[in-house]
Symmetry: C2
Subunit: 259 residues, 2 copies
């Protein structure tokens, strides 16, 4: 997402108004309920406050407070909720942009289960005492009854769509581009034995490592991806099977054709 | 409920077609979710199969499979689900009646929370193993995070309505009577320090004990309430603050006026 934002800033805009990072999993694992990563990490991400960069200020909201629908390529109209995420911190610092927000897709069913567990106190990390004197952390019990995220991959179907919707001005004119990728759960599993969410999280890390190893990304200090040239990185992603696409006033196309 | 059925059988009908016991709590405890009795007992009642006496045969269903709305005095139209209950067993044996069913009121919210917990495996009585090696019974953890049922009483408001809807024939004519009581959570708490559900469960037991103590119910063998004269029992209930009411073709009135 950082490289997409850097590409937009460098090539598609003179000034940026907003970056909305949209992360939608339109897949189906066929289980009643499961988290795609470790349940403890997953739930912890959604029990706290949500921070976003709005009007060049850090703004605080409750998780699931701000809802927004997006019309996305391939996966169609999807409901997302404003979520805190690492990218917001570095992008708001490294790019000159008044709004950076992260939107994650959740089904009504996910939110219902999550809400029930949270309101009952079952997502708590504080130990509670049972009748028999046992001290137990409720969240650990929830984790133990949920499916192991790795076990979902073989039966996962459907696609993910992750991208940056960037708005701003180019040559004095307002414009809007969506730079994104689409991954398929089944194809990801056939290729690497994981579902698409792990795939889209893992492949960019591999691509970055490759660029550093070849010296193409010569990082002599700690740097975020958006501080490095995005095109070589997107080219490697393309080769690794995670092609970048763009949707703008000229239509929807693979970005590779413009390398 | 047994005494109401006995009264109906003895005084209001020559032949019985059906007894539907309806148990609705239209109260509000002001908490996100709580059970009115011990959560372990409460949930166990609803996780198994449901037995009913239909067409003089034991019939099996899933809990929450059969739903029915009733228009009830005081509490209005309420949704109930067919549930197994002790009374069905003795009433079907002791009275000549082809249908005996028990209907308990549940809110959509109760069913949602229950369904989430059940589907996740959190109502299981089988120990599971946590990451750290601890062996824990999920149901005990759910119990530990839920409010202590006794703690609900001080803030419980609203009313309960419990009764027997009896259908059959009298003097060759079809008729239908609803014999019931209404209790108020707040009044019950002010009187005995418990909410109305405990009140309506406890007061009849006290009344029965009083009748046995005075010798008015001379029980020389194990007997169910419906095998004993109902009027003295209902009279004591009346004095103890749980008056019996009847709704039939002549309207809705206190039964005490007919003692």
């Amino acid at each position: 997402m950082n490289a997409y934002a850097a590409l937009a800033a460098q090539e598609y805009f003179d000034t940026l108004d907003s970056i909305d990072i949209i992360d939608v999993n339109a897949g189906n694992h066929g289980r009643y309920f499961a988290t795609n990563f470790d349940p403890e990490t997953n739930f912890r991400e959604f029990t706290g406050r949500v921070w976003s960069w709005q009007n060049r200020q850090w703004t605080q909201n409750q998780m699931f407070e701000i809802r927004k629908e997006w019309d996305l390529p391939v996966v169609g109209t999807r409901t997302t909720y404003m979520t805190g995420h690492d990218e917001i911190h570095s992008l708001s610092k490294n790019l000159d942009v008044p709004f950076v927000r992260f939107w994650m897709g959740f089904s009504d069913h996910y939110i219902n289960v999550f809400t029930v567990l949270k309101n009952l106190g079952l997502l708590s990390e504080q130990p509670i005492k049972l009748d028999n004197g046992q001290e137990v952390v409720p969240l650990k019990v929830v984790k133990a009854v949920l499916p192991d995220p790795a076990s979902l991959a073989p039966n996962y179907t459907g696609k993910t769509c992750i991208g940056d919707l960037v708005k701003g001005k180019k040559d004095g004119k307002e414009r809007e581009v969506f730079i994104y990728n689409v991954a398929d759960h089944k194809e990801a599993f056939e290729e690497v034995g994981s579902q698409a969410i792990s795939y889209t999280a893992g492949v960019p890390a591999v691509a970055a490592a490759m660029l550093i190893a070849t010296g193409e990304w010569d990082v002599k200090k700690m740097a975020n991806v958006e501080e490095l040239p995005p095109r070589p990185f997107l080219k490697v992603l393309d080769k690794l099977g995670l092609p970048t696409r763009i949707r703008d006033e000229q239509g929807d196309r693979e970005l590779s054709s413009t390398f």
